[in-house]
């Protein structure tokens, strides 16, 4: 069957890209769509980042200086939503679009028109979400977790637009995920069994299943909100027999797998990059695959560890504490495997490798604070403080974002046919690395000392660390302009990249010319 698809694809599309804007509007080419996803997510990264600037500027010193508390709440909400749904997830879908067909030797994604649709929903969804900021009563101001009843009975009127935007993002993600699953299941090159797939494809396959499983749950929970707000139901209103805690259960049943959705593809990227620069095969391929599957399965039974303080019975707390701790085991296996891949290798430290190493170190720190947070009794103190903020930024920024940077630097020569400026890229790395740690490490301290999250102003004892955090955030944020500069410089005047710019990179993507032609693998390659 795979051959058949490949051949028809060849006959229908034996021409280059269309000219002008229609190329981007109507494209069904996985590379074009991948690029659009990546550019979209970069724009969102800057929008979400500028909101973080507003937050950190307000928190630079105690007192209210720049914004009113209500606007501050809108900023933290939008920052979270945009970074999660606008920056990280589309970037991963973009990488999947670009790389999965190249890695498994397929001519394109299995469902190209669906692919186009799933991208083009996003700009509309995010425009709708962001215009709420200019509406009467302001945009969503209830945090990215939008706990009821703050987000239902007490929400600004714009919440309806927010719900519709979430529905659209969800639809887009589900379509993207279905596309990935169908592509990987049906379109692998002859001879490429599941256990021969590159790790990036494996992580994305699992991620796609997670997305298909939980995005409908998110859609469900926002639909319940919509019904409560406009149609007189009381899912989350105790007055009509509902329960506000039900919201949290449903939300986190989506939310916890969601955080793995945001980290698994990064695991995949790092598992591609580290072997290349250690000049050694990935250690423990099989256990890596089993570990991802174990993490994905466990992610469905740990959700209530986000809710240790809602007043669960002892048995519930114990159950969720134990299952959460269990996740540390497969995650540990992955980290040990990466370290052993480096062990006795022959390492060089190009930018993708630097990002991957930073990923392993900083993600481990985030993972360890995760173990601390998993302990229910101590979580009574950590819960909803800056310690939590530090934890999830440590897993998401060096986790997801650094993974994406590693991927971009690693595959940019393949995409553009040009080499990036290694010196500048290393500079970008080191500034980001310092900025990131300066931003998020002191958050552990203020959190432990007792600073709650999501507050626009704070008592004086947290002043020093907050100032450092803000300085770090400005550094980290501004340093991303270097990244944009590097991208532009590469595209305009980068040196031509060879077919395989990395000394010992393995995989089908390096068997095609750089830049990758508009159509690749019209005839499937043979994998032995």
């Amino acid at each position: 069957m795979t051959t058949q698809v490949a051949e028809t694809g060849h006959d229908d599309h034996a021409h280059g890209p269309a000219k002008g804007i229609t190329r981007w509007l109507f494209t069904t080419n996985h590379k074009d769509i991948g690029s659009m996803y990546l550019i979209f997510s970069l724009i969102m990264l800057f929008i979400g980042g500028s909101m973080a600037f507003v937050i950190r500027a307000e928190l630079f010193q105690p007192g209210l200086q720049l914004v009113e508390p209500n606007f501050f709440n809108q900023m933290i909400t939008m920052h979270g939503l945009i970074m999660v749904f606008g920056a990280v997830m589309p970037a991963f879908v973009g990488l999947a679009n670009w790389m999965i067909p190249l890695m498994i030797g397929a001519p394109d994604m299995a469902l190209p028109r669906l692919n186009n649709l799933s991208f083009w929903i996003l700009p509309f969804a995010f425009s709708m979400m962001m215009v709420t900021l200019f509406m009467d009563g302001g945009g969503p101001n209830f945090g990215w977790t939008f706990y009821a009843p703050l987000s239902t009975t007490y929400a600004p009127p714009s919440v309806t637009f927010f719900i519709f935007a979430i529905h659209m993002m969800g639809a887009s993600s589900i379509m993207g995920a279905i596309n990935v699953v169908v592509t990987i299941v049906n379109m692998r090159a002859p001879g490429m069994g599941y256990m021969k797939m590159p790790m990036f494809c494996w992580t994305w396959l699992i991620t796609a299943f997670l997305l298909i499983a939980v995005m409908p749950v998110l859609a469900g929970v926002v639909t319940m909100m919509l019904m409560d707000i406009h149609f007189g139901t009381s899912f989350f209103d105790a007055g009509g027999g509902g329960d506000p805690v039900l919201f949290q259960h449903v939300f986190w049943f989506f939310g916890h797998p969601e955080v793995y959705i945001m980290i698994l593809p990064s695991f995949g990227v790092v598992s591609q990059v580290i072997p290349t620069f250690a000049r050694k095969k990935l250690f423990g391929y099989h256990s890596m695959v089993y570990a991802i599957i174990a993490i994905a399965v466990l992610s469905f039974v740990v959700w209530a560890h986000h809710m240790f303080t809602v007043g669960m019975p002892l048995a519930g707390e114990l159950f969720f504490m134990y299952t959460t701790m269990l996740i540390a085991v497969p995650t540990g296996v992955k980290i040990f495997n990466w370290v052993s891949t480096m062990f006795k290798g022959s390492m060089t430290f190009e930018t993708p490798m630097l990002y991957s190493i930073a990923f392993v170190i900083l993600f481990t720190i985030g993972g360890l604070s995760g173990i601390m947070l998993a302990l229910a009794p101590v979580d009574f103190v950590y819960h909803d403080t800056y310690f939590v903020v530090a934890h999830f930024h440590y897993v998401l920024v060096p986790g997801a974002i650094f993974g994406i940077f590693a991927a971009v630097y690693y595959w940019l020569p393949k995409w553009s046919g040009k080499m990036y400026d290694e010196g500048l890229a290393k500079f970008h790395f080191w500034v980001s690395f310092v900025g990131l740690n300066l931003t998020f490490f002191p958050m552990h301290f203020v959190g432990l000392a007792g600073m709650p999250r999501r507050i626009p102003d704070y008592p004086l004892q947290f002043a020093d660390f907050n100032m450092i955090v803000s300085v770090g955030a400005f550094l980290f944020g501004t340093s991303q302009l270097i990244f944009v500069f590097i991208l532009i410089k590469t595209l305009r005047s980068g040196k031509a990249a060879p077919q395989s710019p990395w000394e010992s990179a393995e995989g089908l993507e390096w068997t095609i010319p750089s830049p990758a032609p508009y159509h690749t693998f019209a005839t499937p390659p043979k994998v032995d």
């Binding site: 105790a238 007055g239 007043g311 019975p313």
Partner: protein
């Protein structure tokens, strides 16, 4: 590419929708069964047989709240009673509607510790139905309950809380303002 096995796929879709649809009732049943969130069950279907009254006594505390937009005095007449396990007891809650318009209120019960919720049985309760309160009305509302003799040993005091919600239909509340 031919769609493989349409029937199982359709069944999966139906099952997924069904699961989503049933999420709320399942949660309610689950919570009632385990008493996870301190929700008490509905009216106790009293069997005519005499209840087995035990010597062990337990303190039952009553607290009252009201949801936002209700500044009404609403309190238990007795804040705490001691009852024997299995003994039926009637207590009163007093509510005053100080506004000059009729309102409809719904009381929502909750028990702490939530572990005790399945053992508190209400035979009659003002929370079973919505309460109409005339303008300026001062009303005593009854609760007839007993505590199950299967209550775990370590619980010596339990608290029953009622939160009063304003559920006056939208149209009426607009007319009165």
């Amino acid at each position: 590419m031919k769609l493989a096995r349409p029937l199982p796929l359709a069944l999966i879709c139906v099952a997924m929708f069904g699961f989503g649809f049933l999420l709320v009732p399942i949660y309610t049943v689950f919570c009632e069964w385990t008493g996870i969130n301190g929700k008490t069950s509905g009216a106790y279907e009293a069997s005519t047989a005499e209840l087995n009254v035990e010597e062990r006594t337990i303190k039952v505390q009553f607290v009252s709240n009201h949801n936002a937009n209700l500044g009404w005095p609403f309190k238990p007449v007795e804040e705490q009673v001691s009852v024997k396990l299995g003994e039926k007891r009637q207590v009163m809650f007093n509510v005053i509607n100080p506004t000059n318009a009729p309102v409809v209120a719904q009381a929502v019960p909750s028990v702490a510790p939530s572990e005790a919720a399945p053992f508190l049985h209400k035979i009659e309760c003002f929370c079973f139905e919505q309460q109409d309160l005339l303008a300026g009305e001062n009303k005593n509302m009854p609760l007839l309950f007993f505590v199950d003799s299967d209550l775990p040993e370590h619980i010596t005091k339990l608290t029953l809380s009622y939160t009063l919600f304003d559920v006056t239909p939208e149209a009426d509340s607009l007319a009165q303002r």
